[in-house]
């Protein structure tokens, strides 16, 4: 990879530094769902060897990092996904994929609400149905905080993320050390397993790193542009260390029943420090949700808002409250997440959620690889501050590998063939495609008609003068009727 120095946003009063870029990238990836994905992964391989699948997935995450690094360098904006997809493929295909990808955010928010709700219910010794009430409370709080424009400050996010990482590492290491037993098959993942099991484990492993790339939406607020790709790189390293340790400790100390529960991390905490460890991990789980709710709600709702403002979604989705928060997307996101979380809680189908998320992430990584390859062809001379070496070859490798992993993850749940994730993705993709192909043309036509009916306010210039002519209603106010190109407006000050 080649990077070039850039000036960035160093002049901004409040710019995001590398530390916060790392914590944002890591924190978005390390959701509460991470614990369930790690527990789901260990059953695919022998003994305590799941770290190998995590390492292979980490290498693939590095590949994805290369793709997102190059794309983010070319389009350092929160709207990057729209820009690079629109320039790589047909806009309708780009929108369909983007809308489908956005469902991942709903799934992750729903999953975290479910996991935290279940964990609270468990530590309080309440009946399992009370998890539904906690889910409702958590999502209501998240929606209310978002509607009030409350955003977790960068410093708080730093503390939260690094606390979660350190606490999880300590708990995982302590659980292994206190077991006083030697590791089982730490280097033999295929012992008693098939090669396809390892592939499925890697597919789930990729999910452990998923969302690390969401930090690219902060490209406009980093102090230096390279903080984004450096932050993602460090995040992948941190995620590997913590997740590898968690999978080793989970396979080492947890029973099959505990691995299949909705709160394996609580059992891990109990194995490390008894009852205190269980409460501690419940607290850590709640903190992980802080980043998910904060980042997920903001990213998704702002994207929906901007897309509605652009004219690609109905205008009511761009409605703002008095705190300049797009309240319709926030409420819709909360409601959608609530429904998904309650369905998951009632049907105990969290493994379907994990597999669906894994498949969607692998799919978007394959799409990112496609965009890198196509943009190398379409925009060969475009400035690339971060240039992936061997992009075309690595891009093709990425398309094949991530495409394969997406297929594998979408038809496998808990080491069994199960097409439920594929069905979920097909429904989401089908709805997105239906909207883009059938509804969007009407939305855009209505928007175009509305704009055509709006009178242009800017005074037209007479040909050749470059001077605006004051006409119409604006002129009738008399306020600046004498002004021309050289007139004083009375509202301009020259800065020192």
């Amino acid at each position: 990879m080649v990077t070039e120095p850039a000036t960035g946003n160093a002049a901004l009063r409040r710019a995001m530094g590398l530390r916060t870029a790392v914590s944002t990238s890591t924190g978005l990836a390390f959701a509460a769902l991470e614990y369930l994905a790690a527990a789901g992964l260990v059953v695919y391989v022998a003994g305590d060897s799941a770290w190998i699948a995590v390492a292979v997935a980490g290498l693939l995450a590095l590949l994805a990092w290369g793709f997102f690094g190059e794309l983010n360098g070319m389009f350092p904006t929160a709207a990057a996904i729209r820009l690079y997809m629109k320039r790589s493929m047909d806009d309708r295909a780009a929108l369909t994929i983007t809308f489908t990808y956005m469902t991942t955010i709903v799934l992750v928010i729903a999953a975290d609400a479910f996991i935290v709700g279940s964990a609270i219910s468990q530590v309080l010794g309440e009946a399992s149905w009370t998890a539904g009430l906690w889910i409702l409370v958590l999502l209501a709080l998240a929606v209310a905080a978002n509607l009030r424009g409350i955003k977790v400050a960068g410093s708080v996010q730093d503390v939260a993320t690094y606390t979660v990482l350190v606490a999880t590492t300590v708990i995982a290491a302590a659980a292994v050390l206190r077991s006083r037993a030697a590791l089982r098959f730490p280097l033999s993942p295929l012992h008693g397993h098939h090669g396809t099991d390892l592939i499925e484990a890697v597919a789930l492993g990729v999910f452990l790193y998923s969302a690390f790339e969401w930090v690219t939406t902060n490209a406009e607020e980093v102090r230096r542009p390279e903080h984004v790709h450096r932050g993602m790189l460090i995040a992948v390293g941190l995620l590997f260390v913590v997740c590898a340790l968690v999978t080793i400790s989970m396979s080492h100390v947890l029973t099959h029943h505990q691995l299949g529960s909705a709160y394996p991390q609580l059992y891990l905490g109990r194995a490390a420090f008894g009852r205190a460890g269980l409460w501690f991990m419940a607290g850590v789980t709640a903190v992980t949700a802080l980043n998910t709710f904060n980042g997920g709600f903001i990213t998704a709702s702002r994207f929906v808002y901007a897309t509605a403002r652009e004219g690609s979604l109905p205008r009511p989705l761009a409605a703002l409250n008095d705190r300049a928060v797009p309240w319709v997307p926030v409420v819709a996101l909360g409601a959608g997440s609530l429904v998904v979380a309650l369905v998951v809680a009632a049907s105990h189908s969290w493994q379907v959620l994990v597999a669906t998320g894994a498949a969607l992430e692998a799919m978007i990584y394959a799409v990112a690889a496609t965009c890198v390859v196509r943009l190398r062809g379409r925009l060969p001379h475009e400035h690339r501050p971060f240039r992936l070496v061997g992009a075309r070859t690595l891009g093709v490798v990425g398309i094949v590998v991530f495409g394969l992993l997406a297929v594998v993850a979408s038809v496998s749940v808990g080491n069994h063939f199960n097409p439920a994730p594929l069905a979920v993705i097909a429904v989401c993709g089908g709805l997105s495609a239906f909207y883009v192909l059938r509804v969007l043309p009407r939305v855009r036509a209505a928007e175009q008609a509305r704009r055509s009916a709006t009178r242009r306010r800017r005074p037209p210039r007479p040909a050749g003068t470059g001077v605006p002519v004051v006409t119409g209603e604006w002129a009738e106010t008399g306020e600046s009727a004498q002004t021309g190109a050289s007139a004083e407006t009375g509202a301009t000050e020259r800065a020192p």
Binding site: R82, E221, D322, R323, A324, A487, G490, A491, A495
Partner: protein, 119 residues
Amino acid sequence: MATTEEIAEAFAEWRERCNANERLKRMLRGWDRVVHLRTSDSSEQFTIEVRDQSIGPLGIGAAGEPDMVVTATSEDFADLFWGDLNPSEKYMSGEIVLAGSQEDVMRLDAMSMVAFLDQ
């Protein structure tokens, strides 16, 4: 290419409209910010300061430490202040480039939208 005077004139109209808008004033509560505008075609810079729920006069040149930097063509700035241009559309197509936090970007777009609700 729009002249400095054209941009200033458009801004004056926009500023008046914004400062007279009660809803927008509520939206600007607690949002004191310095915004720099940079024209990509004429290399000019302007400064806008929002303080106490009110938009200050346009400063010619870059003054102070900005919370946000907006880069666009001079024509786009003039059209934007006249309310003839949807900044989100330009932003989503990469023609308007921003530097600043997502929340500040949202607030700035909200200002342009609420000021011209019929847009």
